[in-house]
């Protein structure tokens, strides 16, 4: 995969790899991960001289790829600064090492051999340390569970963003509304509002109830063309769209209404 990313794979092998990832196999995700690793290896100075040359030829001549390299450098600096700031000298055992230490102590069950008069004191001291470490392990387990949940929420895959392509109202009224369902776990809704024709200017999207109450809006949007269809895209939080009927108003400049898009949000599967 690294050879492919560096443009060094023979053409027939590259084509096979491409067929695999276009057909939706896990190869695509593996390539994305390999690309992250390659960029990180470059900024860390861990590439061979040939790979270094090939990387610079492939990545530094394209603006978007260069941005990724610059981001990786910034991330590496941030991680290094965080480490320096967050780990004071003389800290107790690193949490994971503490878990390993407990396992080692419990499995071996070995304590230092001392004279009988010292054994009692040693035993008490060790018991106190063991209790403290056990408490650390419990805390770690809770932290691990919390982290897993936070990470799951923060790094939700594409399914967490639902794309809805709306159709303009030919006539006002609830019968014109498209029914759209929010799947569980959806956090954001990307509304794509097609335009009759492309145009310059800044747009605003406002989601209103039939009574005219504004539930959410987004300003400062510009038209983008995808597949030859100009459209405005707005990202709205899913939690703003309870089940019910709405209308998405598209305005340009100082409030000139360009189009309206009725929609009906129904309960997800």
């Amino acid at each position: 995969m690294r050879s492919y990313l560096l443009g060094a794979l023979p053409p027939d092998e590259a084509e096979k790899l491409e067929e695999a990832y276009f057909e939706g196999t896990p190869v695509f995700e593996e390539l994305l991960l390999a690309e992250d690793d390659l960029i990180d290896a470059y900024v860390a100075g861990r590439l061979s001289s040939d790979e270094h040359r090939a990387f610079e030829a492939a990545f530094l001549s394209a603006p978007r790829r260069r941005e990724r390299v610059d981001f990786a450098r910034a991330l590496r600096r941030a991680a290094s600064s965080w480490e320096t700031a967050a780990r004071p000298p003389g800290a107790r055992l690193a949490p994971l090492a503490a878990a390993a230490a407990i396992a080692a102590v419990l499995a071996a069950g070995a304590w230092a051999v001392r004279r009988q008069s010292d054994l009692g004191a040693d035993l008490s001291r060790t018991r106190a340390e063991l209790q403290a470490l056990q408490s650390d392990v419990r805390g770690l387990q809770e932290r691990g569970a919390r982290l897993a949940q936070e990470l799951s929420m923060a790094a939700r895959p594409v399914a967490g963003v639902v794309t809805w392509i709306l159709s303009p109202a030919l006539s006002r009224g609830p019968s014109a509304a498209r029914s759209l369902s929010l799947p569980p776990g959806a956090e954001w809704v990307r509304l794509r509002l097609p335009l009759e024709r492309a145009g310059d200017g800044v747009f605003e999207v406002e989601i209103q109830t039939p009574e005219g109450r504004v539930v959410t809006s987004q300003r400062g949007l510009t038209a983008a063309t995808s597949a030859g269809v100009p459209a405005i895209e707005a990202m709205v939080p899913a939690r703003a769209l309870a089940t019910g009927t709405y209308v998405a108003l598209l305005r340009r400049g100082k409030g000139e209404e360009v189009a309206s898009f009725p929609l009906r949000v129904v309960a997800g599967p």
Partner: protein, 209 residues
Amino acid sequence: MELRGRGLTREGFEALLQRLDPDRDRAGEAYEALRRRMLKFFEWRGASRPEELTDETIDRVCSRIAAGEEIRAEDPGRYFHGVARNVLRESWKREPEAPLNEERLARGLTSPLEGQPSLDERRSGCLQSCLDALPPETARLLLDYYRESGGTKIGRRRDLAAVLGIGPVALRLRLHRLRGRLEACVRHCLERPETEGPSGPLEGEGGRP
């Protein structure tokens, strides 16, 4: 904004969505997934304008569908791959890649104006703002994952996965997605005037104040 011609119609695009999936929402997601693969295909193949070539590929497929052509391949991805390959070859003929030289590399480097923060400084500031917008434990996990010292990186990452109760590959995938969102957050932050902070899906809800 130019409207791409080539006989493209909204009907062609609608027909494409229908071919991807009869359910419009799932069709939208399938379209996004295909578009992402095409974009990376052109990037990984060294195209200088991957977004334009992606649009060109989609335009071409939609035009063909609008003209009555059927996507016979069981997986539309295979069909798109074929068209994308042709678009790439045609782009090479139109614009042969210039050899890499120092001048091209330096084009991306800008010197800050006197008194203005450099782009690197702004990027670091934006990254910090974007990290601050994350739940604290998540930000710490991300930074722990990407730090360099403290044992072998592989060993540390394996331990992180064990603490979270997931496999190492699952951890890598989740952190990759998180990294992608951070990159987008930093990109938006850099595009905004310096007086404004980051915005985008990492922040709270949008809406009228």
